[in-house]
């Protein structure tokens, strides 16, 4: 498994770990029921603190991507496609919101934004 940590990005390290493991689960690179490295091993191999890896795993558990089996370890949970979709939609909404705020601030009409989205979507 590859995890790339940046110490200068300003994004907290636990978040970087969380997001990268999450992406691997969504992409099915990490399969359901696969055992993840222990908190301590991961900390050692990433040269970061145990609390950091623990936070990352706890958040993944909270979000339903990872399940924990006491005294055994952390496993990839069987993820619900709908939940993932919903989260992605939330993210998209967030980005669009930012775009709209920017548009309104500069008096750019709704029509221009709609057109832009149509063009970009079809280009992809």
């Amino acid at each position: 498994m590859e995890i790339i940590i940046s110490n200068s990005s300003g994004v907290p390290i636990y978040e970087q770990i969380k997001e990268q493991i999450k992406a691997k689960i969504i992409a099915n690179e990490l399969k359901t029921n696969e055992l993840l490295p222990s908190i301590r091993t991961l900390a050692k191999d990433l040269r970061c603190s145990v609390i950091t890896t623990k936070n990352a795993y706890e958040e993944l558990v909270k979000e339903g991507y990872v399940k924990t089996i006491p005294s055994k370890g952390f496993y990839v949970a069987s993820i619900n496609k709908e939940i993932i979709l919903e989260e992605q939609l939330n993210q998209i909404e967030g980005f669009l919101n930012q775009a709209i705020v920017l548009a309104k601030r500069n008096q750019i009409p709704k029509k221009a934004i709609n057109e832009m989205i149509t063009i970009l979507y079809e280009e992809e």
């Binding site: 110490n7 300003g10 907290p12 390290i13 636990y14 301590r40 091993t41 900390a43 050692k44 040269r47 970061c48 603190s49 145990v50 609390i51 950091t52 936070n55």
Partner: protein, 286 residues
């Protein structure tokens, strides 16, 4: 979470220096970075934990045992690296092996010689021929070879080059993979701590300024850089310290995200432990 080390209200007065009411806890399986200026009280605290200074007040519990009453039982399970080398210079690593074998029940000769080999240290040369870095490595090898549960390390990486430091840090992280163990590590090389420490305890002028998880510090604290006019708009309760430099104000804030929401300042940087130390010590209080 169980603590391996609890320091409660430790005080000790010298003619020109005093430790004042030092308290902190080190939980199992964790690495605590112990930072502060030279002379802030790090070494005195470590020596009190080891019960090698007299007449201090307060209570220190290690593995749940009182350090004064159970000195022998505790020492068997502690590994130590002190800032000043404690071996006589005429000894060789072979001599140290013999001495340690008779002092520690759990001394593992094989392990000790493996460390010496890994560190490329000669086994039969007197310590006085060793460089500073070699001495440190020898001390670290000695501290780790009797399966201690608590490592007390005072500047263990001082005098080591970056490669050796990385080796040593790996050793410490291997050590802590056993979650029954813990490390208290004082260092001026704060980048080492920024990587591996779980907790940071900051001592200044004999008192503890803060003791928190490292992530809490580095992810939340921030430095705001702003003009005098902007600085004047910041409420006193929204910052911890500030410092006026020639061209700008540097302001230490506890939660950079919250701060950004509240004030329209341009630059809110993430913080390093070095920044934190300088601003806490040199900065003016809010």
């Amino acid at each position: 979470m169980e603590n391996i080390l609890e320091v409660k209200n430790l005080s000790k007065t010298y003619d020109n220096f005093a430790l004042k009411d030092v308290s902190f806890n080190l939980p199992k399986g964790m690495i605590m970075g112990f930072i502060g200026e030279n002379g802030a009280g790090k070494t005195t605290t470590i020596k009190a934990i080891l019960n090698i200074i007299q007449n201090y007040s307060g209570d220190i519990e290690i593995f749940g045992l009182n350090n004064r009453k159970e000195d022998g039982r505790i020492k068997e399970n502690i590994g130590v690296v002190l800032d000043d080398m404690f071996f006589p210079e005429i000894l060789t690593p072979n001599d140290i092996n013999s001495i340690m074998k008779s002092s520690y029940k759990n001394w593992d000769e094989k392990r000790f010689y493996t460390y010496l080999k890994d560190f490329a240290l000669p086994t039969n040369k007197q310590i006085k021929t060793f460089s500073k870095g070699m001495r440190k490595k020898l001390e670290i090898a000695t501290a780790l070879s009797h399966y201690p549960k608590l490592l007390l390390l005072d500047e263990p990486t001082a005098g080591l080059d970056p490669i050796a430091r990385a080796e040593v840090i790996d050793l410490f992280q291997n050590f802590i993979e056993n979650e029954e163990c813990a490390i208290l590590l004082s260092s001026h090389i704060t980048t080492d701590l920024e990587h591996i420490a779980d907790y940071i305890t900051f001592i200044n002028n004999g008192s503890i300024l803060l003791s928190k998880t490292k992530d809490e510090l580095l992810d939340h604290y921030g430095i705001v850089k702003c003009t005098e006019k902007e600085f004047k708009t910041i409420h006193k309760k929204d910052y911890i310290r500030y410092r006026k430099t020639k061209y700008a104000y540097e302001v230490l804030v506890e939660d950079k995200k919250e701060f950004k929401k509240k004030y329209p300042v341009e630059v809110v940087d993430k913080i390093t432990l070095d920044d934190l130390m300088v601003l806490m010590i040199k900065g003016e209080e809010a």
